[in-house]
Amino acid sequence: MNKRIIAKLDIKGPNLVKGIHLEGLRILGNPSDFAKFYYDDGIDELVYNDIVASLYGRDNLLEIVKKTSEDIFIPICAGGGIRNLDDIQAILKNGADKILVNSAAVRNPHLLKNAVKEFGTSTIVSYISSKKRLDGSYEVYIDNGRQRTYLNTFDWVKQVYDLGVGEIIIESINQEGTGKGVDLDLVKKVSESVPIPFIATGGVGKKEHIIEVFQNTTVNAVSLASILHYKYMHFLQFDKNKFSEGNADYLLQKSSLNTIVPETIFSIKEMMIASEIETRLYKNEK
């Protein structure tokens, strides 16, 4: 089975942003520009996560999805701040193929059930942000990692599976933005909990981390942010370049000791193939 690598773009207002442990956000540029690059270079899917929808409203995300869907023909998963079925309908109408639901589902699991019923299992993705506590247990956090729920991650994973979602994105808050690698324990435990496809996100800093996850777990896909954004931002030519580079440098410093080694999609896929991990190899025919 081909494994997927997915580009995750966190959106704040009209901008692509990046943080560490979901904090300290810095602007990196225009999301559509990055998305086009990733599509042309053979990324398997895109995820747009609006991290401040509740504060800024949803129009920015809708605009970004619409623009992306005009030129980009791979699956687009979008969400962030979804409150109800109307929000889901609006994003689908703008060209998204899948919708991710996080906080609202924890607050009201019926939303997931109704969304699956209305839009189909394969349209609804459950995004679960998980923090590892000192005692080794994993807890679900919502509101972009700010709010504790006291809900055990794996109980929630089983619950969303029962509610009928087609896919899960499992995020490690501890690893997110650090570039120190994926939480393999978390990933393994999720794969043992439910027989649906899921995507691991949070912590990939080097391409070796990607190989590690695919070789040691049965995860279907890995979602990437820092490792791609910090590479591709250098290919974009626009006036804010210096500004964005300053931001990227800041983030790279904070993530300490250069744990992040930015890579192109091609070099990641090349390494996957060399490590006998099946994946789609895309030849840019332009």
Binding site: F73, I74, L92, G95, F119, G120, T121, S122
Partner: protein
């Protein structure tokens, strides 16, 4: 003088990512018309039947909009009908999802859940991701086959197509070592289990193929 663009009716029964499909049409210079109206559909050069969700719900909505008669009439004109994902499944006769439900019956065969098809309750379902499509050399006479390559296309489904006749199988794929049907075709009726609108350049080539097929029919 600019020549008129060919029109494609994308059937709107409130299920399916019709907007992605419309964008793909535009990209290859086909004019997409999202509609459920009889007069508009019959006048279009091709019909795409999209679909994401449950077979039962889909048939119910299609019935409510009187689309069965409209689609059967359209099929009789000989103009192409392309079903995508659940839309492809609807072209067949029966689905075992939540009891038994009748489809359009434009191609003989059934729809069955992946775990029943494979007798494997532990199979990871839905089948999601890029997977190789292998063309059936025997059915290369079907016009659309020319535009499908032995390469990766994007799948996301829990049910599989089980056409009754081998000559209606256009392509197969493999998931977790199980072979399943990924494309079907009978005369002007085509069913694609994968999503051409999400399959990059290869997917757009299929939309291009629809345009070429329309051209040849005109």
């Amino acid at each position: 003088m600019k020549s008129k663009r060919f029109t494609v009716a994308i059937i709107d029964y409130s299920m399916g990512n019709i907007y992605s499909i419309a964008q793909a049409c535009r990209k290859v210079d086909l004019e997409p018309i999202i509609t459920f109206q009889k007069n508009i559909i019959i006048s279009c050069d091709a019909v795409i039947l999209p679909g994401v969700g449950a077979f039962e719900t889909a048939i119910k909505k299609i019935n409510e909009l009187n689309l069965i008669e409209i689609l059967l009439n359209y099929a009789a004109t000989g103009k192409p009908i392309i079903g995508i994902c659940l839309g492809a499944q609807l072209l067949l006769q029966n689905s075992e999802e939540f009891g038994s439900h009748k489809g359009l019956g434009l191609i003989e065969g059934d729809v069955i859940h992946f775990s029943n098809y494979t007798n494997n309750k532990n199979l990871v379902v839905p089948h999601i991701g890029w997977n190789k499509v292998i063309i059936n050399k025997n059915t290369m006479i079907q016009p659309i086959s020319k535009y499908i390559r032995n390469e990766d296309y994007y799948f996301i489904h829990s049910y599989v197509l089980k056409p009754a006749h081998n000559e209606d199988i256009l392509a197969k794929s493999i998931y977790d070592n199980y072979v399943f049907v990924s494309a079907i075709g009978h005369n002007n009726i085509i069913g694609l289990q994968f999503h051409p609108e999400n399959s990059g350049i290869n997917g757009l080539e299929i939309f291009n193929g629809i345009k070429e097929i329309i051209k040849e029919n005109v």
